[in-house]
Symmetry: C2
Subunit: 502 residues, 2 copies
């Protein structure tokens, strides 16, 4: 790109450095920080957040941006920009616009609030006591409404929050997607429930150290580069990137539940490979960022589900897994494959199977809409949650820890995030289908544990573009069609139709 | 203190937050950072260093400081300040003066240089190749000379660097201290060499996991609070504090050398207890910082040597150590005590015994003086190092890795630091003598593993003051006399006279 953008790029790079530094503080907070370190840490993260905000809306930044766009509405000052330049400037302006919409004090207050809220949420979950978290979540919801108002929206407040995570996605579109998905999912789940095929889950204790080592082996074979990243333990698995050369994954190891840890590792490595696949030369600018949360999630889901829960994958890795855990000796491929693909209504989103997973998202989506658009009070949440669990899954959580308190997202202020998980599922099926068509001997490669061609295909078709394309543009570019839930539904019906002999 | 200082305190707090954040980046770099993460990390640390510098010498800071002192020479604008206020302002002005003496560009260049140099030093040490480190050290020495010139000095350049680590200490004073110490040390070492007592060192392999656990147990009993800190592994043990509520120690575990790791843990915990003992209410201001590097070192040395290598300490802990390592069964207290106090000339400072340790410092002190004051070229260092090793210890390192490359300090730009280790030894002997007089049943308490009264005495007499007193003032206040090497010499002659039956 033209050198006339050098100055704005250098200002953006400074912002990115601050964000990257702040990410390390957050990562450390979630993984290693001693118990008493939280107060000063919250203040430091708030400080960096405020510093980045100040610099983003500084006169220096505005003056530079004004050379290219009208900072009030994003219109280009000249028609002579190339399409690529227009894209670049559009992304830069949007980010500026969001920052500029929020008053400094709001940013500082909110940053300190969510930092504290995460600790409160964690305590509330541990002690199974929603009341510990309630006052903090109440403040968060109030502030998120204000945030939406600051940004502006055409139809409803919640759309303004969705837009932060998945540009172009609205309640209108989600209602259509979920409307198409819901009846077919419910039908599929009913058939599975009535199937004569009954699958036993894998039980028993699995040495934590071996789980760790096997997980590391798999993510390395996927192409996650441990010289440019690492894996650690945390309460809630997550991926955070400081730079494509330093991407951190976390997982949770449980002795009596090795599948959860393993698939969490694969899932997070899918995110990590995306972050490592962003071009270093674009670091700081919009093309050096991931396209959207939904596209991000498509990467983790593709690795976790389409690949990690496939039969062909385990035809290679089951024998290796048995070397780590001889207790699995009695499992042949078919039995193991079924055991990792049990479908059953459950309380927990993260541990939900592929089929019921989207129902967990719809539940959260509906609750978030009510909170933001319809004035639902936070104190009503545990009740509403349980009612919807009854409606969707015909089960009621025995505790709020397993119910309304299970997810970290709201404590981080991430309202509007959950739908991007569902979008990720939809995208992943679209990408997977295309990769399958384009990569020669696709199945055979997976059966041989030759996973790098998949990583390279994702690098080449998705990762390297960063945020150059909007999600719907990227989908169109990669698969040739627009966003659709069909490939995802068909994938589920096909896969589980065979497993449950429907 | 009066509320008129609120504004300057809040500006100082901001600087401290930046420093604390930067410390986390450094800590992560030394402990966990993946191999490829170094480039962006160096840039981020440099960015924070530059940011702190900018803010420290900003017009806002200057305007505020000018209300109290003449910023050019530190003279107070009024005589109506209390003594305490004068102390406070003097420390604030000194720090400002140092920052203000250095041009912005110099600070940025230097920060990036040392960040890279540490990686180069590490590589050079691993590959035993001084030439990898040489160009970087050459630049560091050049810049340290410039730094000294920026600060100014009355007698010689090296004094300006010493002053950064140990305020009030000059080459003139060090020459006196070392002049008093050297002949008596050499005499003592000669006697030990000629002694009929021959002590065998402890050999064999010690399980790393058990080493780790025993070390953690000891530092907890010393009073290091693991809720406000943690211990990790690194190549070179160090302590770094983000806040009294989050202090990080590192140690190095070697299967075939458990004493090194153990005493490194105790040593670093001594530093850590000091940092945890600084008053949180003073965080950000000078009284929230340690007095000096030498006083810091006195804390680590006191725990490591006066306590950790004493017979009474092991009368409690040897039986416990044997539970971890039954292979030590044949050691009675006397044999073990002697084995951890072997005196012999050695190549390595960190692993040197108490008696020869100061000779390692004198060697470095002389070399640093030559580098800074006398124009010694960096390329001459390996030769000079080996010549001095021959002179002081009658041994020549078989490799630069065990010689001139052994210490991390120069790669960090810490020239002038080493003498504070020697000062720490001198102070520690003075403090220990006093603690022994003031704490009731001192020996009995140690024999019972009741170490907290010692921690509390140090908290009360040293830690809580932070940087309120200069090192010589603090010594005077605590022990009633001025700085002296005598208690240290007498401690050594007495202890080792008994061990070696001199």
């Amino acid at each position: 790109m033209h050198s006339k953008f050098n100055k704005i790029k250098s200002l953006l790079l400074e912002l990115k450095k601050i964000e990257s530094i702040s990410s390390l503080l957050s990562w450390d907070q979630e993984t290693l920080m001693p118990e008493n370190g939280g107060d000063i840490r919250a203040k430091e993260i708030a400080y960096l957040s405020s510093l980045a905000h100040q610099k983003h809306v500084s006169n220096e930044f505005k003056r530079e941006l004004e050379k290219f766009v009208n900072i009030n509405n994003g219109e280009f000052v000249t028609n002579e920009f190339t399409n690529n330049e227009k894209r670049f400037l559009n992304r830069v302006w949007i980010d500026f616009h969001y920052e500029n919409s929020l008053p400094q004090e709001f940013v500082e207050t909110f940053s300190e609030l969510v930092s504290k809220s995460q600790m409160k949420w964690s305590k509330a979950k541990k002690q199974n006591d929603f009341s510990i978290f309630k006052p903090f979540l109440t403040k968060i919801v109030d502030m998120k409404k204000k945030e939406a108002d600051y940004y502006g929206y055409s139809t409803n407040r919640y759309d303004a929050l969705l837009e932060q995570f998945e540009p172009g996605i609205t309640t209108e579109k989600l209602d259509i997607f979920f409307g198409e998905l819901r009846p077919r999912l419910i039908k599929l789940i009913k058939k599975i429930k009535n199937s004569s095929v009954k699958i036993e889950k894998i039980n028993g204790k699995f040495d934590e150290d071996k789980q760790w080592k096997f997980g590391l082996k798999i993510i390395e074979e996927m192409g996650f580069d441990l010289k440019s990243g690492r894996q650690d333990k945390s309460m809630h698995p997550f991926t955070i990137s400081f730079h494509p050369s330093d991407v951190r994954l976390t997982t949770r190891i449980q002795e009596d539940n090795f599948l959860t840890s393993l698939f969490a590792s694969i899932h997070e490595a899918g995110h990590g490979i995306y972050e490592q696949g962003l071009l270093q030369v674009n670091f700081g600018g919009p093309y050096g960022q991931a396209c959207s949360y939904g596209i991000h999630e498509s990467q983790s889901r593709l690795w976790e589900n389409q690949i990690g829960r496939s039969k062909i994958f385990w035809s290679k890795y089951l024998p290796i897994l048995k070397e780590y855990f001889p207790q699995l000796e009695s499992y042949n491929l078919d039995k193991f494959y079924k055991a990792i693909n049990v479908v059953e209504p459950s309380l927990n989103r993260v541990e939900a199977d592929e089929v019921t997973y989207s129902l967990h998202i719809m539940l959260r989506y509906e609750i978030e809409k009510m909170l933001i658009n319809e004035g639902l009070q936070v104190e009503e949440l545990p009740r509403i949650w349980n009612e919807k669990m009854k409606e969707y899954f015909d089960i009621i959580p025995g505790s709020d820890a397993n119910g309304v308190l299970q997810d970290v997202h709201w404590s981080m202020g991430a309202i509007g995030y959950f739908p991007s998980y569902a979008m990720g599922n939809f995208y992943s099926a679209q990408f997977f289908k295309k990769a399958n068509e384009e990569i020669i001997d696709f199945d055979k490669k997976i059966m041989e544990g030759d996973l790098l061609p998949i990583k390279r295909w994702l690098n080449e078709n998705i990762h390297k573009y960063g945020r150059k394309y909007l999600p719907n543009e990227l989908i169109k570019k990669v698969v040739g069609n627009k966003m659709s839930v069909k490939p995802f539904i068909e994938y589920l019906e096909n896969k589980y139709g065979k497993i449950y002999q429907l």
